[in-house]
């Protein structure tokens, strides 16, 4: 048993932290937010220069094959800095999916440019009715001669508006909630019949609804075996779930530090409000919840690549429950303790709170994962 990180991992975390502290202050982030793009290609290139886009790419495709613990350390820092660039979508989820689909041709075509930060590949999987259930895919892919015809709606796909290419999940056979019968296709934005509606999200990030109306793609667009993509989709989302838990932990620690700082400096009734026991106990509970969340983020990082499916799924769902609940408690109370200032757009704490809130709603919320935990535990 060992809770230490390797020297390389420490170095990675320190490097990213230094970058974020120097280049991603509240003001710098605000400037990026105010651009029409809402993210900075320049920053993305710099992150790529630090090796972040290569972390989750295997070595034979120009990557670092670093693993979930490295990703966790990076996500802690990106969470703290509320980095707007698409690390989770394009440097965690997409390469994890491609790697798991076991398709050398697609891997060779996509992974080196992902590793280099040249290409933003986005997984378009979520649908309005799926609500965290990974097998719930209603988008259809019907064969038509040598082609597939795709029809359906992918909803609130993070960074969907800036994708150079999509990995679209669609049902090529079976019923809407079956694990079997799901396939993955490479589709470029702008393909005829495809409509990408981009929008900002309340946490400052961006997303898109992507509609497919009779979108015809060649059979060569299929990645991996037809009908058999579910295992890869689940595996990739497990890596991403572990990563987003770490992002949440970074945010929670930043929020707690800011709240502590605020209550030590803000004076009412002639003393810092942090001297009041009602507030002290609240902050003690916020601290406890952040520690429990951190423990579960560690567990998620270790177990997301565990072979035993029951153990893996149980641990990840448990982690997402703890992170969702802790995030809500910490976020809501941080705003409360900041008083009116917490309500404004002017402090980082409200931005942290918004992102933390949306993290609970991403990849299945605490209620969803409680049910999932029960299902897996009782079946196992």
């Amino acid at each position: 048993m060992d809770f230490n990180f390797t020297e390389e991992q420490q170095l990675l975390a320190d490097t990213v932290r230094r970058f974020v502290r120097d280049n991603y202050t509240f003001e710098q982030r605000r400037e990026i937010l105010e651009t029409s793009a809402g993210w900075s290609r320049e920053t993305w290139n710099e992150l790529a220069g630090l090796g972040l886009t290569a972390l989750n790419v295997p070595e034979e495709h120009g990557g670092l094959n670093a693993g979930p613990v490295d990703t966790m350390l990076v996500m802690n820092v990106l969470g703290e800095g509320l980095v707007l660039e698409p690390f989770l979508a394009a440097a965690v989820l997409a390469p994890a999916l491609i790697t798991r689909l076991d398709d050398p041709k697609a891997a060779g075509a996509l992974l080196p440019s992902i590793a280099a930060g040249e290409k933003i590949v986005v997984v378009a999987h979520q649908e309005p009715q799926s609500r965290g259930e990974l097998a719930n895919v209603a988008t259809r892919a019907q064969t038509s001669g040598d082609s597939y015809v795709i029809d359906g709606l992918k909803s609130v796909i993070t960074h969907g508006g800036i994708a150079d290419e999509f990995l679209v999940t669609a049902r090529s056979s079976g019923k809407p909630a079956d694990a079997d019968g799901i396939s993955v296709f490479r589709i470029a934005p702008g393909t005829a019949g495809m409509h990408v509606k981009s929008f900002r999200t309340i946490d400052g990030q961006q997303a898109a609804d992507i509609e497919f109306k009779g979108v015809k793609v060649p059979a060569s667009a299929l990645v991996g075996a037809a009908d058999k993509a579910f295992g890869a989709i689940e595996g990739a989302h497990e890596i991403a779930l572990s990563a987003i838990c770490a992002e949440a932990v970074g945010i929670m620690e930043a929020i707690n530090a800011a709240t502590l700082d605020y209550t030590k400096n803000r004076k009412q009734f002639g003393q810092p409000i942090g001297k009041f026991q009602a507030l002290q106990h609240r902050m003690a509970d916020m601290f406890i919840q952040a520690e429990q969340a951190k423990s579960m983020s560690y567990l998620a990082a270790i177990r997301c690549v565990e072979d035993d499916a029951t153990e893996r799924r149980r641990s990840l769902s448990a982690a997402k429950v703890v992170i969702g609940q802790a995030g809500r408690y910490i976020g809501q109370n941080a705003i409360q303790l900041h008083g009116g200032m917490g309500m404004t757009d002017e402090l980082m704490v409200s931005h942290h709170f918004k992102r933390l809130t949306l993290i609970d709603l991403t990849f299945g919320d605490a209620d969803f994962h409680t049910q999932q935990f029960i299902r897996v535990t009782q079946a196992g």
Binding site: M1, H281, M296, A318, T370, I374
Partner: protein, 399 residues
Amino acid sequence: MDLNYTPEECAFRDEVRTFLREQLPADIAGKVKNGHAVQAADYRRWQGILYEKGWGSPSWPKQFGGTGWDPVQLHIYDEEAAAAGAPRTIPFGLKMVAPVIMAFGNAGQQQKYLPGILSGKDWWCQGYSEPGAGSDLASLKTRAERDGDHYIVNGQKTWNTLGQYADWIFCLVRTDPNAPKQQMGISFLLIDMKSPGITVRPIITMDGAHEVNEVWFENVKVPVENRIGEENKGWTYAKFLLGHERTNIAGVGASKRELGRLKRIATSEMKNGKPLIQDPLFAARIAQVEIDLMALEITNLRALSAESEKKAPGPEASILKIKGTEIQQTLSELMMYAVGPYAFPFERASREEGDLKSVAGPEYAASLAATYFSMRKTSIYGGSNEIQRNIISQMILGL
């Protein structure tokens, strides 16, 4: 980062398992696993078996007859012992006064007291709290006045756990009522429970159990040689002791065992023609406590790992106390809710004899309500959970 045990740690775990399988008496394990009261004689018998094995005190250093195990080994032992249904360690001798005697007692005191604690021959109890000194322990009033080679002790201690069986009591007493700070006038005395002038009066708690007592001291003569360390320095030793009270404070092993019992009960009980464990609301409540326990287990391992690296066990233990007791309380609550109206029957006479008999309903339901009521104590004792939050906000958050 690696959450797995090393091969050496796995081998150690197997050794502990084998020992428990071969040596833990089935009748005692049965009581623990089914939530029945463990009797003083059971505790003594089990301590004797551990002593024979050389495991009388896992947490002591080797020079005093301990095992010298590191924190991870101690954790493995605690987990396995709890899972097998071994009785909890009564902490007052082994985990509380013994570390104080080792750290601050003289050689004569170490030779006199430690062997009896290790073998289980001597049962110790604690004289800390008083009616007017609970969370504010340093305001204690029990007086010890010097009279030649003796102290004359007068006063009252309370919430004394299992003192009805005790041979010895360690006490905080006021030796200097005029000290500039109340913490500065306190001494730490070891007192023979057979001394004339000591009266033990039972306090019956709401679950009908006789676990705690008032202890009255009326002109009790205590030899000066029974004082630990220096006169008026007792508060230092008291704080040291409270630090040691915190080992295994999370109680993860025992809570895992109780979670298993909860699931067995919820599998036997029926609701709407299906086992209760399949009821969506009840299943969600079980899942919540199971998930909280998973998080606590990792938080506990992180604390242990920091301890292994010789970072002293710090105020982080307060997290373990708060979460650990909340989980214990929730588990007892869910077990009571699981049996519904069969939680009601209560035969007081059998409780007074030491255990609750089943008078109606399933055998496993007999003690559940009593246990629920009893477990409310866990967030009050050992520094209430509010005091723990004070510790976190002052020692960690710097407020």
